[in-house]
Symmetry: D2
Subunit: 153 residues, 4 copies
Amino acid sequence: MTKEAPKTMSTIDPAAAQSQFEFRARFCETDLMGIVHHGNYFQYFEMGRVDWLRKRGVTYAEWAARGTHLPVVEVRSRYRAPARFDDLLVVTTTLVELRSHSLRFAYLLHRDKTLLAEGETRLACIDANQKLIPFTGELRAVLTSAETRAEIA
Amino acid sequence: MTKEAPKTMSTIDPAAAQSQFEFRARFCETDLMGIVHHGNYFQYFEMGRVDWLRKRGVTYAEWAARGTHLPVVEVRSRYRAPARFDDLLVVTTTLVELRSHSLRFAYLLHRDKTLLAEGETRLACIDANQKLIPFTGELRAVLTSAETRAEIA
Amino acid sequence: MTKEAPKTMSTIDPAAAQSQFEFRARFCETDLMGIVHHGNYFQYFEMGRVDWLRKRGVTYAEWAARGTHLPVVEVRSRYRAPARFDDLLVVTTTLVELRSHSLRFAYLLHRDKTLLAEGETRLACIDANQKLIPFTGELRAVLTSAETRAEIA
Amino acid sequence: MTKEAPKTMSTIDPAAAQSQFEFRARFCETDLMGIVHHGNYFQYFEMGRVDWLRKRGVTYAEWAARGTHLPVVEVRSRYRAPARFDDLLVVTTTLVELRSHSLRFAYLLHRDKTLLAEGETRLACIDANQKLIPFTGELRAVLTSAETRAEIA
């Protein structure tokens, strides 16, 4: 991802910054090669990210309703081994960078001990008018907190 | 589809009510059986519908921006033969029913002379508050017109 | 769905023929109307179906690997109320018809007590050469059984 | 993308290595932010890549049928401005690297003069047994050629 001089960078506690989400690969997510299509991994990373936020008390839907959006501005992924239909997959999501107006999550996708893919996404913080805004202190506190409650589903 | 007593039913000229849209099946639309996944056909029907409206001077995006939405309330599809990656497909879209608050499109999907699928969708007419509204006279005139200009792409 | 004279119809125990699967609507499954796009419901029904089979000891992936496929030949869905991002959804899948060479599942999609959609899919039984084959006695026994084990994920 | 010491690197003629493909953003590709979901851009890049090959006489479907696959092993994308429903988009695909066992395409996505996104994908060359194989001389000749015929659709 792009290297920029950090400004108002928050300190991230590595132990607190990680969450895991388990799910199964859908039939419709495979392609004619018999494996999960590479584009679908960004749906998996997104699920991991939404779950990561939920586990810190943030319902992204409510956040969006209040006018704060986190559009994805940059992504990358490296594919190590194919995922297949019905595989029980685990996405490990880690907040790796928290700047004043953007943040960066890293992802690992595993089937049991096998690493299938790794990726990163950078998200900007914008308001309802698509204007870049800084994370408020409240949001920053949430983003640097550990999991606060068990996930419901 | 559900049979209801017609009210304020518009007369549709069969010759005018039909348009065709050509496209290729995408790699990512196939599944591990090597054929286009059945759920993707509703994307194809939607492309046919959007193109049908465009060929009658309606940009659905503008329509939506002005507060009129046409949510899909009922669909069906029957699959006759598989579509495969890179197939050059033609969706034939026909307006088959125009009621006061809803309309119905029928679709045929062909690869050359081979019928691959047929389907139908019923759409309601609602405003920005999700309230059912009747089609205005202006919209009704558009919907019962023939193609008015060549499609750009 | 198409009405045909039943042949070698199996008796289905309604109490045994039903299973439920819970999941959350993904961000990427919504469209610009802010609701889950209608085409994605067939992914939800498919998840319900795959889970239904798993709960009766059938791993569809293994079944497919052994050369038996269940392609979808007909679908329909009726949308009652919109599903939204992050909604906790439950799909109730019921085997409603088991013929010699095809079967039919019905689906109900709920958010809490609210019915969001209902649908049906008819699937044919084919071999690796796309030839229609009858369900074996073994498969028929599985399909008419109740849930045999708890779902893992 | 990963920097590796080049081996058996082919010389690419920049003027010959580029093709353009035009299409419209689908309704179902948008999300609740009203813009095309970031994951779908990899479908756009894939369409560009398939079209790029077709314009050099390669039908990827036939290539795949003969046992040569080009799985995506690494991707990245940077989003500059949102794409919206019904936008007429142009993806410019350029072969930027041709190694012995892999290649790399770069993509630019425009709406008129506006750059919406840029991306890259690295693809490996494998056989039907998922084994890494070198590009044959025949394939290498195709990949370094200019557009040879007009695209049909």
